[in-house]
Symmetry: D3
Subunit: 70 residues, 6 copies
């Protein structure tokens, strides 16, 4: 299985809240090595990003795709 | 600082690849507790998700927003 | 009408499930020629994508924008 | 393989344009049954969507995730 | 023309930076009334959002779809 | 506070509709200077975008991230 995406996190389901149309699922992270972000070069420069800088990576839950392999 | 997003990962910059318009930044994860995903209830049912299930969370790099606080 | 997007699929509504805030709409596809994806060059190389390769294109429903022309 | 997403299109790679950071890949669609969209109930009502309506589904290429199974 | 989206901003092109695969376009805003956001109810509660609160709305450029009508 | 995103709009909350899992929040815009969009260079050329062109910028509410600073 190969995905055209830079981020793949191994996790287990902790809780589910099922709504009428959308559901919210929470996960415990089992394994994560690194993360990657793509942004405009302009934003990189405005942030002044360089090796070693500490940041927060914000991700809306809607952009997280759970996949069950095998 | 409070974000209208369920996922916030503390990380440090490991490398940068600056392109003409877009850049790819890699991060080492410093702290991550849990992750959350929002998907259709229909997808939850098709996946048969329940507590304890192991999944992979796939996230395109474009959906990861770096923020520098302070 | 011209859209700043690579994918435009002609479709008709098959069913609607209206929720309190979000709704899920299903469509029958009437016409689709090709699809396009943008991903990191790194991902293209990791997938080893080349002409003729068979893949699945996964799209979260939240990223599909219905437009009524005319 | 089960994905937490409503749309899965079988396709073959037709062409690749590799850029410095991002790449654009075009696909020929092999099999597509239906499509699904999630939008606000307010938008559904403003569009006046009902069974049989003809629409265009617009999807930015960045939101299309290619996956190679097996 | 009716869009299945809550936000529609009238704007004119100010500048273009064309890259090999992706381009960055800047716009001057001509008309904007209100904006809308969809987020988890959990996030709304964590932010403690209520009428009159001042916030910043952050939007990655990749999520902005330019459309030329007529 | 610095965000890895090109668009930042100052706004105040006008109304909230809380759903079981997702909520819809409406905002009055207080300050907006310009907007930016990233799209494929191919789309820019198909749209024939040039300085001064009038467009509509369409943004799904799900892609708008509210942040409370301070």
């Amino acid at each position: 299985m190969k995905y055209g995406a830079r981020n793949k996190i191994k996790a287990t389901v902790k809780s589910l809240k099922k709504g009428d149309v959308m559901s919210l699922v929470k996960f415990e992270v089992k394994e994560i090595n690194k993360m990657a972000s793509v942004l405009t070069t302009e934003s990189v420069e405005e942030l002044g990003l360089k090796e070693g800088d500490e940041v927060f990576l914000i991700i809306k839950a809607i952009h997280v795709l759970p996949v069950k392999e095998g």
